[in-house]
Every structure is written in structure tokens, then in C-alpha cells.
């Protein structure tokens, strides 16, 4: 006797639920445009305002500490006054090394681009070798572990002796500094490819080249990009130091030159630019990595 009663209850309950659902969806679907913009503005503000406040406070403290007569370092107001020309005209070129900051930065970036590209190619290739072959790992890994602890500048005299020229030496220093994290992370990524993926490749009968392109590189991509990201940071560190010693056009030597002519304000401005460029480089590689490894990183 109870059975039909429960059935009817279920039947009446279901349409009610269905009718209720679209109503909820409708209200969710149309929040006013202004509200959306306000929300975006709020979220941006939450991210942007705190660092701005901190920067303003730090600048204020700096100004207060350094504005006294006889202080060793210039206050921000003086830095700005001294370097106004450099800030507002980064593109001048008076010949020799007397160029705008744009040219110095671009010379440094070109060296980094060349050295880093070489180290990315060689690093990934060596990393794949070490990750794939147990014997290559046993033979090469101890070597890598020792070599990677050598500070960038320690390579400079040796490379100057070998290349007898500043330009290739600087590029070599970048190469040798940034290659280790790329090798090591790539090798770890290759070694961590799940056995499942290898099984899939085996069942489908991918040849070694297809396995490399279709399984190995995408599977190891998150690790490879971790290595590439550490590598770009290290190469930017190395180039500044190497350029100080090598001379010529480049942001590193610009800093050294400013120190030799006691233009402390210029040093501060250059440091600011070095930081910004390093940050952008790091974000750039991270961004590329995010696009390339979409999908992979989620698992």
C-alpha cells in the first residue's frame, strides 16, 4: 500500500527540482557589467597597492637616511636628478662605450641570448642522455656535481686564455653557468617518466625518435622548464659579473665604469634596470613553460 504513495512523491519532487535549477542559473548568468569591472579593479588593487605602499615607504626611509650632508650614498631625489638624462634618453650613442642604457642592456641581453640558447640545447641533450642511460649517468653525474659548484667567474680566466677575446669568453661563462641546472632537471624529468607512458609507447610501437618527440619531451617538460628557469636566472647573474671584468658595451661594465667615475647614482639606476630585466626574463621563461606544459603539469 505504501509503494504508490512514495512513487508519486518522487515524481512531484523531480519536476520541482528541474524548474528550480534554471532560475538559479539565470541569476548567476547576468551580473551587471559594472559589477564585473569593479570586481576586476578590486582584485588588481589588492595585488598592486601593497607593493606600491611598501616601495613608497622604503623610498621615504632611504630619502630620510641619505639626505643628511656627508652621507655616503645619494638619496632617491638626488639619484633621480643625476640620472634624469639616462632615464629619459636611453637611446643616445656618442660612440665608444658612451651609449644610452638601452644599448648596454641590449648588448648584455644578446650575450645572454646566445650563451643561454647554447646551454639550453646542450643541456637538454645531455640531460636526456644522462636520464635515459644508466651508464651515462654513472659516468657523467659525479663530474656534473663537481663542475656545477664552480662559481661563474672562476671560469672567466680560463675561457679568456682559450678564446683570447672578451666576447666569446663572456658567452662561454653564461653557457657554463646556466647549463648545470638544465642538465640535472632534464635528467630527473626523463628518469621520472611514468612506466605507464613507456608501456603505451611500447604497445603502439613508437620508434626511438617518435618516443623522444611524443612522450619524452612532453612528459619531462615541467622538469625541463624548472631547469631552464633556474638557468636564465643564473646566466643573468653571470653576465653582469663577467662584463665587469671584460669591459666594452654592456650593463655590467656600465656599472663598473660608473663606480670608477664615482657616479653612484648611475650605479643605483643600473641596478634597478638589472633587477627589472632579470625579473622579466624569469617571467618570460615561466610563461613559455606554462604554455608548453599545459596539461602535463596538472597530472
Amino acid at each position: 500500500m505504501n509503494m504508490p504513495a512514495t512513487k508519486i512523491e518522487v515524481e512531484t519532487a523531480t519536476p520541482a527540482a528541474i524548474a528550480a535549477a534554471p532560475v538559479v542559473a539565470m541569476t548567476l548568468k547576468r551580473p551587471p557589467r559594472a559589477e564585473t569591472y569593479a570586481r576586476i579593479a578590486r582584485e588588481t588593487a589588492v595585488r598592486v597597492i601593497p607593493p606600491l605602499v611598501v616601495i613608497a615607504l622604503l623610498t621615504l626611509v632611504w630619502e630620510l637616511v641619505c639626505r643628511r650632508a656627508g652621507s655616503a650614498l645619494p638619496p632617491p631625489s638626488k639619484v633621480f636628478k643625476d640620472t634624469k638624462e639616462l632615464i629619459f634618453d636611453p637611446f643616445f650613442d656618442h660612440g665608444g662605450i658612451d651609449k644610452g642604457l638601452f644599448w648596454h642592456l641590449s648588448a648584455s641581453l644578446q650575450r645572454v641570448a646566445l650563451g643561454y640558447s647554447l646551454s639550453a640545447i646542450a643541456g637538454i641533450a645531455l640531460g636526456v642522455l644522462v636520464g635515459q642511460s644508466v651508464w651515462a649517468m654513472r659516468g657523467l653525474d659525479p663530474l656534473f656535481q663537481v663542475l656545477r659548484t664552480i662559481p661563474p667567474l672562476a671560469w672567466l680566466p680560463l675561457s679568456l686564455a682559450a678564446f683570447r677575446d672578451g666576447q666569446p669568453s663572456a658567452i662561454f661563462v653564461i653557457f657554463i653557468t646556466s647549463i648545470w641546472p638544465i642538465i640535472i632537471n632534464t635528467a630527473v624529468g626523463i628518469r621520472n617518466i611514468p612506466q605507464d607512458y613507456r608501456n603505451v609507447a611500447a604497445v603502439v610501437q613508437l620508434n626511438p625518435l617518435e618516443f623522444f618527440g611524443k612522450i619524452m619531451i612532453p612528459a619531462a617538460a615541467p622538469y625541463i622548464f624548472t631547469g631552464l628557469r633556474i638557468g636564465i636566472g643564473l646566466s643573468w647573474l653571470a653576465i653582469i659579473a663577467a662584463e665587469m671584468l671584460i669591459g666594452g658595451v654592456g650593463i655590467g661594465f656600465f656599472i663598473w665604469d660608473a663606480w670608477n667615475s664615482s657616479h653612484i647614482s648611475e650605479i643605483i639606476l643600473a641596478l634597478f634596470y638589472v633587477g627589472i630585466v632579470g625579473f622579466v626574463l624569469d617571467r618570460l621563461i615561466a610563461g613559455v613553460g606554462k604554455i608548453v606544459t599545459r596539461g602535463t603539469a596538472q597530472n
Partner: protein, 264 residues
């Protein structure tokens, strides 16, 4: 009645340093074309090892696998595997995952357009065509397993190997997928070898159930025929006396005669 797939005196011994473990001992089994055979046993009895040997992913220590009277000892698309954890490549879409195998197997025999149509045909078979451009992370566990089945089917394997294909799914999804596999088997007439630890699943799906004793040195303890007419209906079978008898027989084997002592 010629053997389509033949497991001939397979032994498997794992050696680590001086220690050796005999996992499988003298496994003999013949499977006919179009047959659905399940291998059931307690965990650790080496049934996955056996499947890997048939797939060619692991080598047998002695003995071998014959497919249509030819020995097979390396992996290949003629023995496509549906892996327990789907093993879809996360950086490829559903379509690309299936295409990976199709492009390899039919590189010479099908044109680009035919291959594309074949991928879609197989996705349609498992009702996953609507998700062709989704990545594995964007679909549910049951859907992933469907794509895994489509990938294996699309290679037109002589034997389809299922390695606990429904093990990682919830009960409702599992039942749904079992029905799908049954329908596919009915429609396409594949030869299927399935590893499972689920008694109901084995009885529902199989023509024969191979029961393995506990390891080490696991062997085939008993082979049970399931004389139920196809197509089988889950609901009708619940009260079917043949079904219940078969089920009881397998349960008896697993829990009375070959109890898994370590788990108790």
C-alpha cells in the same frame, strides 16, 4: 577449435641479487577467437605479471606466448592493452590520444582522412566523440577509461588485454562501463582477456574464468565455463541459477580453497 592465443608452459622468476622469487609456475592456457576470458585471483598472485607477459612488456623466464601459432615476445598493437589507470597522455587531447596508435598502426594502409574517420568511429563506439578536444584532466575517471578502451580498440588488436580496467572506478560507473564492454564484445566479436579481482564482474562478462592460486609459484587452479547465453542482462542474472552457481564456485575457490592468508 584451434587455439588463437596460446600460453605455453609459462614460468616467471624474478631475480634480485641472490634472491629469486618464482611468481608464475607452468601456466598453460588456450583461448579461442572471439572468446572472453577472465583471469581472477587474489592480489599478488601474478595475474598482472601474466598480462604483461602476454602483452610483451615483460619476458617470460621459460615458455612463451603464441598468437595464431606465431610466437610473440615483444609488445605490439596486435595485443592492445587497456591499463588499469587509463594511462592517457595528459598533454594530448582525447582525439590525439586515440590517434597516436591509429597513426602508427595504419600509417601505410589508411589515408589521413580515413585515419581521422577511424579515430572518430572508435570514439563513437565508446560514446566519447563529444569530448574529442578535451584533455584527460578535464574528463571523469570513467570517461578516461572509455577513451583508453577506444585507443586499444582503434588499433584493431587480435587480442584485447584488459588490466583490471574497472578497478579504479566507483560501483555505478563500473557497472555502466561493464555493460559497454559487453555490448562492444557482442558487436565486434573481439577476443578479450581480462584481469580482475571482482567475482561478479568475472561471471557477468566472461565465457571462461581462469582462477589462479596464490603466489609465489601461482598456477592455474581451475578453469570455469560460464554457460550463460548472450546478450546477458545484469538484472536478469541476479536471480539466474546458473549465474549464482558460477559465482558460488568462484567464491568457493577464492575464499575456501585458496584463501589469501596474508590478507586475513
Amino acid at each position: 577449435m584451434t587455439a588463437y592465443l596460446k600460453l605455453d608452459h609459462i614460468d616467471k622468476v624474478f631475480t634480485r641479487g641472490a634472491a629469486t622469487t618464482e611468481v608464475l609456475k607452468d601456466i598453460n592456457l588456450t583461448i579461442e577467437k572471439g572468446e572472453y576470458v577472465s583471469i581472477i585471483g587474489h592480489s599478488g598472485c601474478g595475474k598482472s605479471t601474466l598480462l604483461n607477459i602476454i602483452a610483451g612488456l615483460t619476458g617470460a623466464t621459460t615458455g612463451g606466448v603464441l598468437l595464431e601459432n606465431r610466437e610473440v615476445n615483444s609488445p605490439g598493437p596486435d595485443r592492445a592493452v587497456v591499463f588499469q589507470n587509463h594511462s592517457l597522455l595528459p598533454w594530448l587531447t582525447v582525439y590525439e590520444n586515440v590517434k597516436l596508435g591509429v597513426d602508427k598502426v595504419f600509417a601505410r594502409t589508411k589515408t589521413r582522412a580515413e585515419r581521422d574517420a577511424w579515430v572518430m568511429h572508435n570514439l563513437n563506439l565508446v560514446q566519447m566523440a563529444h569530448a574529442r578536444d578535451k584533455r584527460p584532466s578535464e574528463i571523469s575517471g570513467g570517461m578516461k577509461q572509455r577513451v583508453g578502451i577506444a585507443r586499444a580498440l582503434a588499433m584493431e588488436p587480435k587480442v584485447l588485454l584488459l588490466d583490471e580496467p574497472f578497478g579504479a572506478l566507483d560501483a555505478l560507473t563500473r557497472a555502466h562501463l561493464q555493460d559497454s564492454v559487453m555490448a562492444l564484445h557482442q558487436k565486434l566479436g573481439n577476443t578479450i582477456l581480462m584481469i580482475t579481482h571482482d567475482v561478479d564482474e568475472a561471471v557477468l562478462l566472461s565465457d571462461r574464468i581462469v582462477m589462479m592460486t596464490n603466489g609465489p609459484s601461482a598456477r592455474i587452479g581451475e578453469v570455469l565455463e560460464v554457460p550463460l547465453a548472450r546478450p546477458r542482462k545484469r538484472l536478469d542474472l541476479a536471480t539466474n541459477s546458473t549465474y549464482l552457481k558460477c559465482r558460488h564456485r568462484v567464491l568457493e575457490f577464492l575464499y575456501e580453497r585458496h584463501r589469501f592468508v596474508e590478507a586475513a
